[in-house]
C-alpha cells in the first residue's frame, strides 16, 4: 500500500514526535509513503481568517504536485492540515470556475484527482484494525486512554466528515486494537483553546484545563491526541491549570501514534517519549510497557 505524504510544518518543528511515530508505525505495517514534492504550508487559521482565496491556493499547490507525481492520495497527520487541504480540495473539485481561477493563480493545471486522507482513517479503514492488532507486540493492557479529537479533525461539512461530530471513535478503535482501554468521556471534541494563547492566555488555560480535568475525573491515565496544537495546549498549560484549579492533574499527552509505537514495540526514536512536559514514562513503566533506562 502506498500513499502520498504531506508532513506539514508543525511535524517538521514542535510536533516532530508525531511525524517520527506515525512514519515508523506505517512502515511497520508495510505502508510506503511518497512525500509530496516541494509542499507548502496549508496556511492554517491565519490564511482562511484573512483571505478567501489563499487557503484554496495553498491547498492547490500541494494537490497539483501530488497529481503530477501520479499520486492519488495525500495522507496528512496534523488535524489542521487535514482540515484545510480537504476543504480546499473539495471546493475546487465542486466548483469548476474556482478551480480554473486557482489554477491560474498558482500556475498549475490541477484536475482535482487527489483525495485527502487523515492517518486515523487510513489506519482504521484502509489498513484495518485486524492488521493492526496482529502487529501488536506489547499490548497496552490496563492503560486507560482518553482519546481527544479536538475541533478540526471532525468538524467538517457533511460530505467531508470522517467520523461522528460529537462522539468520534476512530482513535478509540485504534487504542482498543492496541490493547488499551479507551475511556468513555464527554469532552472528546471540546476546544483546547487553539491559537488563543496570544489574545487570551487565560481562555486557553480555562479550556485546556477543563479537558484535562475531565479526562482525569473519567479515570484516564493518559490523553491521546491527533493535533500538534492540541498537544501543546493540553501539555504545556497543564501546570497553569493545576495552579488555577488547585489540584494535581499529571496526565501525559501523547500522539496516538506514539502509543501505537509503544504497542508495536518500536525503537525509542519512534516512540519519542521524552518530548512531553508531563512525563509519560512513570505510568508506562508502571504498566510494564517500557524500560525507563532506554530514555536516560
Amino acid at each position: 500500500m502506498k500513499f502520498g505524504y504531506y508532513p506539514g510544518c508543525s511535524l517538521e518543528g514542535s510536533g516532530a514526535e508525531y511525524a517520527h511515530s506515525a512514519e515508523a508505525v506505517l512502515a511497520a505495517l508495510g505502508v510506503e509513503l511518497e512525500e509530496v514534492d516541494d509542499w507548502v504550508c496549508c496556511g492554517a487559521t491565519p490564511a482562511h481568517a484573512t483571505s478567501h482565496l489563499l487557503p484554496v491556493a495553498l491547498s492547490a499547490i500541494a494537490c497539483a504536485a501530488a497529481e503530477k507525481q501520479g499520486l492519488e492520495t495525500i495522507l496528512t497527520c496534523c488535524a489542521a492540515c487535514f482540515s484545510r487541504l480537504k476543504q480546499g480540495n473539495h471546493d475546487m473539485q465542486n466548483d469548476p470556475a474556482l478551480l480554473a481561477q486557482i489554477n491560474e493563480i498558482v500556475e498549475e493545471d490541477y484536475h482535482g484527482g487527489v483525495a485527502i486522507l487523515h492517518l486515523a482513517e487510513v489506519l482504521v479503514r484502509r489498513i484495518g484494525l485486524q492488521a493492526i492488532q496482529r502487529r501488536v507486540r506489547k499490548p497496552l493492557t490496563g492503560l486507560k486512554v482518553a482519546c481527544y479529537y479536538g475541533c478540526l479533525l471532525t468538524r467538517m461539512p457533511e460530505p467531508l466528515r470522517i467520523d461522528s461530530l460529537e462522539y468520534p471513535t476512530l482513535m478509540d478503535d485504534l487504542m482498543r486494537a492496541a490493547g488499551a482501554e479507551p475511556v468513555d468521556w464527554p469532552f472528546k471534541t471540546e476546544c483546547c483553546g487553539a491559537a488563543l494563547t496570544l489574545a487570551r492566555g487565560e481562555t486557553v488555560v480555562r479550556l485546556s484545563g477543563s479537558v484535562v480535568e475531565m479526562a482525569k475525573d473519567c479515570g484516564a491515565d493518559i490523553l491521546a491526541v491527533a493535533c500538534p496544537l492540541c498537544q501543546a495546549n493540553l501539555d504545556m498549560y497543564q501546570s497553569d491549570s493545576e495552579s488555577k484549579l488547585g489540584r494535581q492533574l499529571g496526565i501525559p499527552v501523547l500522539y496516538f501514534t506514539q502509543l501505537l509505537a509503544v504497542a508495536f514495540d518500536l525503537a525509542a526514536d519512534a516512540q519519542c517519549l521524552n518530548k512531553g512536559i508531563v512525563d509519560p514514562l512513570p505510568v508506562l513503566a508502571d504498566r510494564g510497557l517500557i524500560e525507563t533506562g532506554v530514555y536516560l
Binding site: 517538521e12 516532530a16 483571505s51 475541533c151 496570544l198 489574545a199 492566555g201 518530548k275
Partner: protein
Amino acid sequence: MKHQLAGKAFHSEFLAAVEKHCEQEISACYQCGKCSAGCPVFEDMAIAPNRVIRMVQLGLKEDALKNEMIWCCAGCSACTCRCPIGIDLARMMDTLRQMATHDGVPMPPDGARVFTFFQAFLDSVREFGRLSEVALMGSYNINSGRIMTNVVKAPWFLLKGKVGIIPHKIKRTDRLKRVFRRIEEIEGS
C-alpha cells in the same frame, strides 16, 4: 446584555454584502442561540456569536466589525456544526475579519494582537513556503511589542527539541510570492 440601538447608524446594504461574501443566508437566523451555547470562547467575551449575527441582520456595521468576538473566535466550527438551519457562522466570522481589515476598522487590543500573529504567520509562509516557529515567535514579539505567551515556555520547547531552529525552505519561493501578490490584487488588500 442589553444592546442600545438609539443613535446607531443602520447600513441596509451591509447584510447583503456579508451574505454575498460568505455565501450564507444570514437573514434566516432566528436567534435560537445554539451557536453561542456551544462556543468555547463566549464565556470570556462581552458579545455572543448570535449577537454578532443579529448586528449583521440589523445592518449595524460598526458594531459587527469592531467587536472582540470576531477576533477571538477560535475557528472551532462548533457553531457551524450545531446550527439547526445550517448557517456556517465560522465562515461569517472569517468574512467579518476580512471586511474589518479591508476597511481599516480600528481593532480592539485583542484583535490587533491576533491580527499581528496572523500577519507574522503568513509572512513566514510567504518567505519560506513553510512556517518557521522560531521566526514566527521572533517577528510576533517585535511587531506586537509583547512577548508571545508561549515564549515563557520556550526554554522547555528548546530543551526538548520541540522547536525547529532552522527554517525549512521550499524550492519554488518565487512562484509562491507571485501567488500571494495575485491574491492581494484580486482581493484588494
